[in-house]
Amino acid sequence: MVFIHSEITNWYFLTDSQKRYKIFGDLYTFVTFIDQHTPPETTVLIVAENGFPYLLARYYIYPKKVVFLPKNEYISESKQLSYDYVASYSFPLDLSQYGLVSSFTDKNTSKSGYLYKKR
């Protein structure tokens, strides 16, 4: 009964977005941030340390498409990027052909996300 009570107090009164934030943390903020700042039918390249932001974005922003590039590979490939948008999670990128569209910093975790558009 105590467990059920804590489940209710922890979850029941939250909004849908708050519940998703509780599950995925600032990554959820990151993917909604990408979704809000990109037009429909676009492909976004996500640069991150691991594939989790990419997988989450793939689910949440469909039908927009996402492509993943690990952080350690982006420096060597940054000159040939052909995507309209590039998003990075938790670190800024130095991309000569792209301009920063928007960025955010999560209030709770201080993690940042950046979105760039091809010039």
Binding site: I4, E7, W11, Y12, D16, K19, R20, K22, I23, F24, F52, L55, L56, R58, Y59, Y62, P63, K65
Partner: protein, 432 residues
């Protein structure tokens, strides 16, 4: 409203399955409760296949267009099905009433857990529900979408999610978890009615209570801490095994027909389903050979056809196939594999005492097992052997991350085996 519509959809699937079995008189001697419980699985398989065929033919997934054929079929066979007798009123003693009440509490809790939050398990949204969402948004199944997401899993479970979205009218990854609850409920009912048929209501309530309160089932039924397709696979394996036993008893071609359909669906839930249906297929072929019932072989076509079709579809559209790397034999890996597997088998927090009792009873009566138990043991041990070989030789699989889920596929059969052994060996008093 969404919750109501989802329950209505689940009821509709069950009704379709029930109707098909009744109209075709496919299980003449089985109780209505058993037919209802397997009706859900058949309905899920049939409607998912309908969506797949519509997509292949370029037909619209308009809800009315999907439901209309079923209304015609139901109207046509209505009279044939509606000769249902009213079930006898069953008097239950105090213990049965308490156990029944406890089971209702467990089911209520799983509904509560399912509706409390959106799906959080990465495997569920990253693959299964992403496909459900993509098919719903695209309004069809597009090979390029499957290429983008990955086509390593077959589509039945994802199409089940899509059908819920089609009825609800939008993507809702919270109410879709109610389909897992439905698999939990109907698995329990199938188990209950299978035991009830042989040993009576009281014993069926007791054994079902032990099944329903296994923690891993409760979690998969509501909170879904692991794969979305594992509980459905457990359900389909159990139903297929029950139909196999029935076919062994009766040699009825209609039962084999229904079994073949269930094997086809089971194989298309996920890859592990393909392994176990192969085992069941071999057992069927052996029985056909022993009985010299060679005219029954063509019925297995309904098992093979969907598997062939799915693989041809993948081949035609160049969908990515999973290519695994293979390990060479390693003593260290073998030790690690068996250590982890045994650790899970004795994990009381997940399984209560299920697997410990299962192996103990089997060892105790190994020399004199009833025929039914022998068949179930062949099924369970063959599947365990396949899992073990995969852990030992296929790269990327280890028992720590998946053996708990694989045991879930076989747990209802293990519980059924224990229930039969305890009664057949007269460990318990005779229940009436």
């Amino acid at each position: 409203m969404n919750i109501f519509l989802t329950f209505l959809t689940i009821a509709f699937f069950t009704w379709i399955g029930f109707f098909v079995i009744k109209a075709g008189n496919l299980l003449p001697k089985k109780s209505n409760l058993f037919i209802v419980s397997i009706g859900y699985g058949l309905g899920v398989g049939v409607v998912s296949t309908q969506l797949f065929i519509y997509a292949r033919l370029g037909l619209s997934w308009n809800v009315l267009f999907l439901i209309f054929p079923w209304i015609i079929v139901i109207a046509f066979f209505y009279k044939k099905v509606f000769h249902l007798s009213i079930p006898k009123k069953i008097k239950l003693d105090k213990i049965s009433q308490i156990l029944l009440f406890c089971m209702l509490l467990v089911f209520s809790y799983t509904i509560f857990e399912a509706l409390l939050r959106p799906v959080g398990v990465w495997d569920a949204w990253a693959s299964w529900l992403l496909k459900s969402k993509a098919f719903f948004i695209d309004g069809t199944i597009r090979p390029d979408t499957l290429n983008y997401i990955g086509a390593e899993y077959p589509l039945i479970i994802s199409l089940l999610g899509t059908s819920i979205y089609l009825i609800v009218g939008h993507v809702n990854d919270t109410v879709v978890l109610l389909t897992s609850f439905a698999f939990f409920l109907f698995l329990s009912l199938a188990f209950f009615s299978s035991i009830q048929e042989i040993y009576g209501t009281k014993y069926a309530i007791i054994t079902t209570f032990f099944l329903v309160t296994i923690q891993n089932f409760v979690r998969h039924g509501g909170r879904m801490e692991a794969g979305i397709a594992d509980l459905p696979l457990a359900y389909f394996i159990f139903v297929s095994a029950m139909l196999l036993l029935d076919y062994y008893k009766t040699t009825n071609k209609k039962i084999l027909f229904l079994l073949s359909i269930f094997l086809g669906i089971t194989a298309l839930i996920k890859v592990e389903g393909l392994f176990i249906t192969s085992i069941l297929g071999v057992l069927i072929l052996y029985f056909i050979y022993k009985q010299k019932a060679y005219t029954h072989i063509w019925v297995l076509f309904f098992w093979i056809l969907p598997i062939l079709d799915w693989n041809v579809y993948k081949k035609i559209h160049n969908l990515s196939l999973v290519v695994e790397r293979v390990y060479l034999f390693s003593l260290e890996r073998t030790f690690f594999t068996f250590y982890r597997m045994i650790q899970e088998i004795i994990n009381i927090r997940t399984w209560n005492m299920l697997w410990i009792i299962y192996f103990a009873t089997l060892m105790f009566w190994a020399k004199n097992l009833p025929n039914v138990v022998r068949i179930l043991t062949i099924i369970i041990f063959s599947q365990l052997l396949i899992y073990t070989l995969i852990y030992l030789f296929v790269f990327g699989y280890d028992p720590e991350s998946s053996f708990e889920r694989l045991l879930l596929h076989l747990a209802p059969l293990a519980m059924y085996t224990i229930s039969i052994l305890f009664m057949e060996k007269k460990i318990l008093p005779k229940f009436t």
